[in-house]
């Protein structure tokens, strides 16, 4: 039996930032402002699912349970020459829950911390997405 929740989940994610917009590590498209970000299934070799996230697929909007879990991605990937933000993200719709986090159908940023890029980047994110965004004290 599938459990039903009435409050959005809050997970942690990592983004890179281009022109004041959040961009997922795995995709080139920017997250929209003022409307939900919706998961798509981009499976190429086998049939993609009609409604991402699909059972048994890897599609969906990923989020970790903890900040440390999201930051772990930074250790696994080469550094990017663009600003990076870590933050909480609201998740809802159909969601697959796992031990380390979730993959969800819909998402929107909840609060952001700019790790590199400084106050100007944080201000651009606040203005665009209308959520809290602050520059990390060490951000250049």
């Amino acid at each position: 039996m599938i459990e039903l929740y009435a409050e959005p989940l809050l997970g942690w994610r990592l983004w890179h930032i281009r022109e004041g917009r959040l961009v997922s590590w795995s995709q080139d498209g920017a997250w929209p402002a003022g409307r939900r970000f919706e998961a798509r299934c981009n499976r190429l070799l086998r049939r993609s699912c009609a409604d991402a996230p699909g059972e048994g697929h890897a599609c969906g909007i990923y989020a970790a349970r903890t900040r440390a879990g999201a930051l772990r991605l930074l250790d696994e990937l080469p550094p990017l020459p663009v600003p990076v933000a870590v933050g909480q993200v609201s998740l809802w719709g159909r969601v697959f829950e796992n031990v380390g986090g979730w993959r969800a159908q819909y998402a929107y940023p909840y609060a952001l911390e700019v790790l590199s890029g400084g106050e100007n980047v944080a201000r651009a994110l606040r203005t665009h997405y209308r959520v809290d965004a602050a520059a990390h004290p060490s951000a250049a």
Binding site: Y62, F96, N98, Y108
Partner: protein, 40 residues
């Protein structure tokens, strides 16, 4: 991002009464003043 093995995931449905998306004002088109009409 690693969140776990497929065998350990379970499906849930999250249906908030309101979507957690703040209202973002649409960018208003820049209004261009009409040129002054010169009486003939």
């Amino acid at each position: 991002m690693e969140i776990g093995l497929p065998e350990t995931e379970r499906e849930i449905v999250v249906m908030p009464l309101e979507e957690p998306v703040p209202a973002v004002p649409e960018e208003l088109p820049v209004s261009v003043p009409e040129p002054e009409r010169v009486p003939a």
